[in-house]
Symmetry: C2
Subunit: 310 residues, 2 copies
């Protein structure tokens, strides 16, 4: 069962944080681009080799610290079939390193169409990405989520359905109030209902939720609505989410959320906090340092709140 | 300007209908699979060659009848990087045949991430799919749509934002009522607002809406909310949408919607209506027949309603 296994690794590493692999071209050190373009020419195959090389280095420097990575597919899909090939290699590499792989795809469509997405992302046939979990967009309603549920129950996979996202415009639709509840709260109730009865050994099911780390009060409230759902929490660091505001995203057992940071980790070498100690050649070491600091930052506040899982 | 050019072709062909290329493996004639597997082996490369061969045949039989095709990416993405390569070939082939290509991707993410999607789907750099328009999911709000708008204004591209989808569960989120309006009506207002001021020669802008063809009254109401937005209407045929219920999706100028049919066209050879006259070897001819019948069916009711664009 996906969430049981994920929790086991979280406890083993004493780490609730995960690394978002969002290889925007501008975040990748110049020397990687220069060397690969010099050797292989300036073409799309080289561009995607650059994505892979960068992502692999991030994985090499963090795989023994974090339980999971979350590649953002858009930065690979940007380069179409070539980019998707790079993503497939990144996911395969991460799995070989013992990492759980949550691919951020935010797919959502009518049922028969989602079945096709489900087969690629969570299936195990030849050519499937077969990652551990993906993110899902709920705008099309329950029948757009159903095709993924079976893979969660029988296939040891997980999904994280967007409830409340971390961006400013998330209020446009998600915060509209209907029957005294915001839309994201209705989505949260749907998520809780879909997962009901599928809890594993630690009390959590594999029908999780995306809950942005930039809205403290909302996060705490949603924790109560979906007490058996695991949260994937984006928005820590570069987007403004702070560890002290995230303790409410956890249950009293010290579990319930994985906190994602993307730019804050993979672009640490460029950041104000780390750039004095690292340069572009040591971006991997900077990412490792940032990942350790993030782990400690979150654990510190959870300890203060008395929410200890180990 | 995308919508002006699309309308020009609609009027030229006297056809408001488009063909949805949803090559679910089970809809593809056995002989195509058998022949290609015999010649090339049963592997993922062959599977995607099957998708391409089938799609090309559909295009060959309909390109001079319909203004546009709408490939559903999920059925290609199902086979990952190989599948996306097949989609790239399908889109390229369709464009060479003079068809507008609207790729049904329903993407939606935070702004910086959508910029990457925008570059691949609507950009014109090496390796970009560079299709004419895509579908967009609005759950993350305005800042998730913005990155596509510039491509619509300066790049001669279009988007169709999901307002009210054709599936049954669309009610789960989209029909929730807030401030006396359903969520899809709020989305419709956002779409109208985003497109305002960008109207082309025929009075339409390129910030369009997806409005399911299975909800007659909703469609008519949304037509009024978004009078300058072009609609992409799924749900005709196999999903239950009928031409007589769609006249309200058009403005008095006889324009305003393209009606999509997928299974009803590409799987016509298997359908009750056409299977007596066609077999799997003549699936292309059956698709052509079904496309002509659909064109005439829609035009007949529009004529009766006095909504004539030519």
């Amino acid at each position: 069962m996906f969430t049981d296994k994920l929790i086991e690794r979280i406890v083993e590493l004493r780490n609730h944080s995960i690394v978002g692999i969002d290889p925007h071209y501008s975040i990748i050190p110049d020397y990687i681009k220069r060397d690969l373009i010099r050797d292989n020419g300036d073409n799309i195959e080289t561009k995607t080799e650059i994505l892979y090389t960068f992502s692999r280095e991030i994985i090499d420097n963090t795989y023994d610290i974090v339980p999971a990575v979350k590649p953002q597919i858009a930065f690979f899909e940007r380069y179409g079939s070539w980019g998707l090939r790079a993503l497939e290699r990144v996911c395969s590499y991460a799995k070989r390193k013992g990492l759980f792989v949550i691919v951020d795809v935010k797919r959502g469509d009518i049922g028969s169409t989602c079945e096709a997405y489900s087969q690629y992302y969570l299936g195990d046939e030849e050519g499937s990405l077969s990652c551990d979990a993906i993110t899902i967009n709920p705008y099309l309603g329950k029948d757009s989520i159903d095709p993924f549920i079976e893979k969660c129950i029988k296939g040891e996979k997980g999904i994280f359905v967007l409830a409340k996202t971390s961006n400013k415009s998330s209020v446009d639709i998600q915060d509209k109030i209907c029957d005294n509840k915001k839309i994201y709260e209705h989505v949260a109730e749907l998520i809780a209902q879909l997962g009901k009865g599928y809890e594993g050994e630690r009390g959590y099911n594999s029908i999780g939720a995306v809950v942005g780390g930039t809205f403290k009060e909302e996060g705490e409230k949603l924790r109560k609505t979906m007490k058996n759902s695991y949260f994937l929490v984006p928005g820590y660091g570069a987007q403004g989410g702070k560890a002290q505001d995230l303790t409410g995203y956890f249950n009293d057992d010290g579990l319930g959320s994985v906190i994602n940071s993307s730019r804050g980790i993979i672009g640490a070498y460029k950041s104000e906090k780390y750039r004095a100690d690292y340069d572009e050649r040591s971006f991997g070491a900077a990412a490792r340092r940032a990942a350790i600091d993030m782990r400690d930052d979150i654990n510190r506040y959870l300890r203060e709140a008395g929410k200890i899982a180990w």
